[in-house]
Symmetry: C2
Subunit: 235 residues, 2 copies
């Protein structure tokens, strides 16, 4: 029996600029705030990853951000007014294909990282090297959902954590075989982290501590969490 | 600055049967495990709520559970093979309209509670009375999502917690007005709780402690989290 998990905000990350050593900055902030322990999952928001990786583009005042949304999309699922729900080349489905005007300077937009799983792996490698313990990294972003109001954070990149834990075939509490219980652990970790980040307080890093150790391992969002179009009933 | 939140599993809930005093059983389990503190959010899975409320029905072996799915649905969104994605009369969209054969006895199915917000309110009233502190309750269930593999837990009923926290208009860290940041806090709480419940270990209750106190308040899933069909691009 576990005593539960802790979800801890990590303050102190400076404003991130293109080319910054984000891993070093995250490591410094973690070291100051709480250190890192074996099995910690470090959740980092997409926005600071995109900034460090230089994924900022100027918005043409004449056209606005719409051409950026088009170029970031491989498939448009829905349009209503200014809102576009689009699939990105990563297979992620979200508003405006992830083109984001909030928390960036006026006249600029942040795009999603080119390969958020790679971003997560690089951050993880640097953190493991720095702290000498095995940790996982989740790159999170804030997505809307059909049918339900409000946004939640989900994982767009992961390293060192199994994004989906397959409990199919595990017996349930009454000894019957469960039918479908593939739990999207990485998304639940991202959601939990969002609860301590807050949208306006500038917290871009959180640590989820004491997560079930069996869930640490390999995997990626692109391979494990993105539903293939042929499996999907809503594309 | 918060020191973060804790997500604590509550073991010791006995097998729940129709007519049981679920609030008393949850209260006993909480008292034994960790007590309850002002501002705690107690997350209880739909399955034990449905059982206590007698929402168990025999499955006709000749027809299987399909007629139950039809009668629990107000709208069928998609069908593929045995899988039906349906909208319930609560406005929830999920597989098989919430008709669930796992963790119930062979030959039986559990239906969703008639009014999960009311279930949450009743549980909350009893817990507040018993412990003399103000707590919130979330009734959680496990739903799949379009576009992403794996299931996550979401809130289907809530009491004492604002299901969606509207941060629209709050300034972001750069002083610009945020455009859309209605965070589905109740869903993120349910997701966090699922991380300590585990599918096969029979944990049906968890406590989320030290959540932002501003988020406690009134609201319901049916009013605040269910997206109205006219706002929805995917119905």
């Amino acid at each position: 029996m576990t005593d539960g998990i802790r979800v801890i905000p990590v303050p102190g990350l400076p404003e991130v600029r293109p080319g910054d050593d984000l891993a070093g900055m995250v490591a410094d902030a973690c070291a100051t705030a709480i250190g890192l322990e074996e099995g910690d999952v470090v959740v980092v928001t997409q926005k600071v990853v995109s900034k460090a990786e230089g994924r900022l583009v100027e918005v043409d005042p004449a056209t606005g951000h719409k051409p950026l949304v088009e170029s970031e999309s491989v498939r448009i699922l829905r349009r209503r007014g200014d809102l576009v729900i689009a699939e990105t080349r990563h297979g992620l489905v979200c508003a405006n294909a992830g083109v984001d005007l909030s928390n960036v300077e006026e006249g600029w937009a942040a795009l999603l990282p080119e390969d958020p799983d790679r971003s997560a792996r690089r951050l993880r490698d640097a953190l493991v090297h720095r702290f000498g313990v095995d940790v996982a990294v989740v790159v999170s972003d804030t997505f809307g959902r059909p049918w339900r109001r409000g946004v939640t954070d989900v994982a767009i990149g992961v390293a060192g954590l199994r994004p989906v834990v397959d409990l199919r075939g595990t017996e349930d509490a009454l000894g019957r075989e469960l039918q479908v219980t593939e739990v999207a652990v990485a998304d639940e970790v991202a959601a939990a982290a969002e609860l301590v980040m807050g949208k306006s307080s500038g917290i871009a890093v959180a640590v989820v501590r004491e997560l079930e150790p069996d869930w640490l391992g390999s995997g990626s969002v692109s391979e494990d969490l993105v539903r293939r179009p042929d499996e999907d009933l809503f594309r």
